[in-house]
């Protein structure tokens, strides 16, 4: 009765074919990640070392290391997240916990969501227009960091809201019913149970801030700047600086006769840091998923 008919055998063949096609498509997407990482490391190998990280670019950037861009990127990331994370998280708490759903909040939600998709060059224009010129800060680490902060702000708000909304409403209602204030409820029940999601969202923006080039190109990051090697406080807030992402761009397009391994080395450090930070975020998310309290 349940013998395979020619019809059903053909169906099975089509099914296997479909599966194979989709598998192939997936492999073709996934393979580039591994190939790129592998090839970059391979090409950068001769130059990767601790020295590479802690010496400045020399000889018109044809030799030496990446200390000054590396420190610059660290400054930019730390300052921009120090601004964006608190404001973003608190703003998300405001939008999710303190406002009732009405036309205004819907407009705000739409605006925040859509602003997450703004091209990075438009962020550059904004930073130039608002911070460098209008606010008179001039091209500096501060202006670039604020530009990056505005770039990461909408996404931090959106991901924090998502984390807050994942805490079920009945918990809040139970707290209000026993006379807890809104803030008490947030502090003791909502935040502790959404902190994982919030953290993941912020960490992901760290890697985004580190990798962007356009927003910082015109707001304070420059072609070349010499600073003291090995000194973590070598930059000042109103100084201009170098950055890893910009440096990669510069030495691969603006400077002739650069030895091959140099840009590859820069790319490896940049890509490596970004992937490491993302992996950290993923680990945080996985770990916290298993410790959920309800």
């Amino acid at each position: 009765m349940f013998q395979a008919t020619p019809f059903s055998r053909r169906k099975q063949r089509y099914e296997r074919l479909a599966q194979a096609v989709f598998l192939l498509m997936t492999v073709l997407i996934v393979a580039p990640l591994l190939l790129i990482v592998g090839y970059l490391i391979y090409q950068a190998w001769p130059i990767l070392s601790f020295d590479f990280l802690f010496t400045n670019p020399r000889n018109g950037m044809r030799a030496g290391g990446i200390w000054s861009p590396l420190l610059g990127t660290i400054y930019l990331v730390v300052i921009s997240l120090a601004v964006a994370a608190p404001i973003g998280v608190l703003a998300a708490i405001f939008l999710n916990e303190y406002t009732r759903e009405n036309w205004l909040t819907r407009v705000i939600n739409l605006a925040v969501l859509n602003l997450a998709g703004v091209p990075s060059i438009v962020h550059a224009l904004f930073g130039l227009g608002a911070f460098v010129l209008f606010a008179g800060i001039g091209k500096s680490i501060l202006a670039s960091s604020l530009t990056l902060a505005v770039m990461t702000l909408p996404v931090i708000i959106a991901s924090t809201k998502e984390a807050l909304a994942a805490v079920p409403l009945p918990f809040r209602e139970a707290c209000w019913n026993v006379g807890a204030t809104r803030w008490q409820t947030i502090r003791h029940v909502v935040l502790p149970n959404s902190i994982g999601g919030i953290l993941t969202g912020v960490i992901l923006q760290v890697s985004r801030a580190a990798g962007e080039t356009a927003p910082i190109m015109f707001t304070g990051v420059v072609f070349y700047k010499a600073i003291k090697e090995g000194d973590p406080f070598a930059y000042g807030l109103l100084d201009q600086c170098m950055a890893l992402s910009m440096h990669l761009f510069t030495i691969s397009t603006q400077v002739p006769d650069v030895p091959k391994a140099l840009p590859y080395g820069t790319a490896v450090v940049l890509l490596g840091s970004v992937l490491a930070v993302n992996a950290l975020a993923i680990l945080v998310r996985l770990r916290l998923r298993s410790r959920r309290k309800w």
Partner: protein
């Protein structure tokens, strides 16, 4: 405030969501230390009435409330200290909720938020409330474990312990038994019998027999109107004031 007047006075209460009225000009008193049962089919406004009392209705979108409600003589629409009002009224929701805290912290939550810090006082309060809620024996050895890991019946008793933890003068229960097993329901009804005449109890229920068992007076609501409120005996007798009460109580509709 200690006076002889009713615990809760409701005069001409009307509640509407957008344009739809869910409570229509309801007036009733809740006497001190009585058990008032409120029965009626779904969408009668029973749950909304409770939410008006502790003003958690304020958070719903597009809601309009008119009329006067006084709790212990004070007009609740003018109250400045909302948490204090909510501590005066204990609320038990239909679905059991264990907060994602330890069992101890679940029951200690309200007193802590009110400012009680003394560890010894908290421990005493937690034990007292868990005993009153008939849950102490089952959890006394694992007060550190998560409240969310208890069974439905246990979580509902935990909710009652939480509701009692802030010394309410009124205890409101909103269809507390719909999501729990009959045995736990019976145990909680015993708890209510234990508490009666010590605090005022408002029992909203869709189980008319539950009202008959527990309530001194019973109110019947239908589609936002208060049809009748009287001694429970009268409501369940052959001759209540309204024909609809007679029909509902005998299961002819709803």
């Amino acid at each position: 405030m200690v006076n002889g007047g009713p615990m809760i006075e409701i005069r001409g209460l009307t509640v509407a969501f957008a344009r739809r009225e869910v409570i229509k000009r309801v007036s009733l008193d809740v006497r001190r230390n009585e058990v008032l049962g409120i029965i009626g089919p779904a969408q009668s406004g029973k749950t909304t009435l409770l939410k008006v009392l502790n003003r958690t209705l304020d958070d719903e979108p597009k809601v309009t409330v008119s009329g006067a409600v006084r709790v212990d003589g004070a007009d609740i629409s003018k109250v400045r200290n909302l948490p204090a009002l909510r501590r005066k009224i204990g609320m038990v929701a239909p679905l059991p909720v264990g907060l994602p805290l330890s069992i101890f912290d679940n029951v200690a939550f309200a007193p802590r938020m009110a400012g009680l810090r003394d560890r010894h006082a908290l421990e005493e309060r937690v034990e007292r409330c868990l005993r009153l809620a008939a849950l102490w024996d089952e959890v006394k050895d694992r007060l550190d474990s998560l409240g969310t890991r208890l069974s439905g019946g246990q979580q509902q008793r935990l909710t009652i312990a939480r509701a009692l933890s802030h010394d309410p003068e009124v205890l409101c229960l909103d269809e507390f038994s719909i999501a729990i097993d009959p045995v736990t329901t019976m145990r909680i009804e015993d708890v209510l019998k234990e508490l009666r005449s010590r605090i005022t109890i408002i029992l909203v229920t869709n189980l008319v027999q539950q009202a008959r068992r527990l309530a001194d007076r019973t109110a019947f609501m239908l589609n936002g109107d208060l049809i009748e409120i009287d001694e429970t005996e009268k409501i369940f007798s052959e001759t209540p004031a309204d024909r609809r009460t007679f029909d509902y109580v005998r299961g002819i509709f709803g």
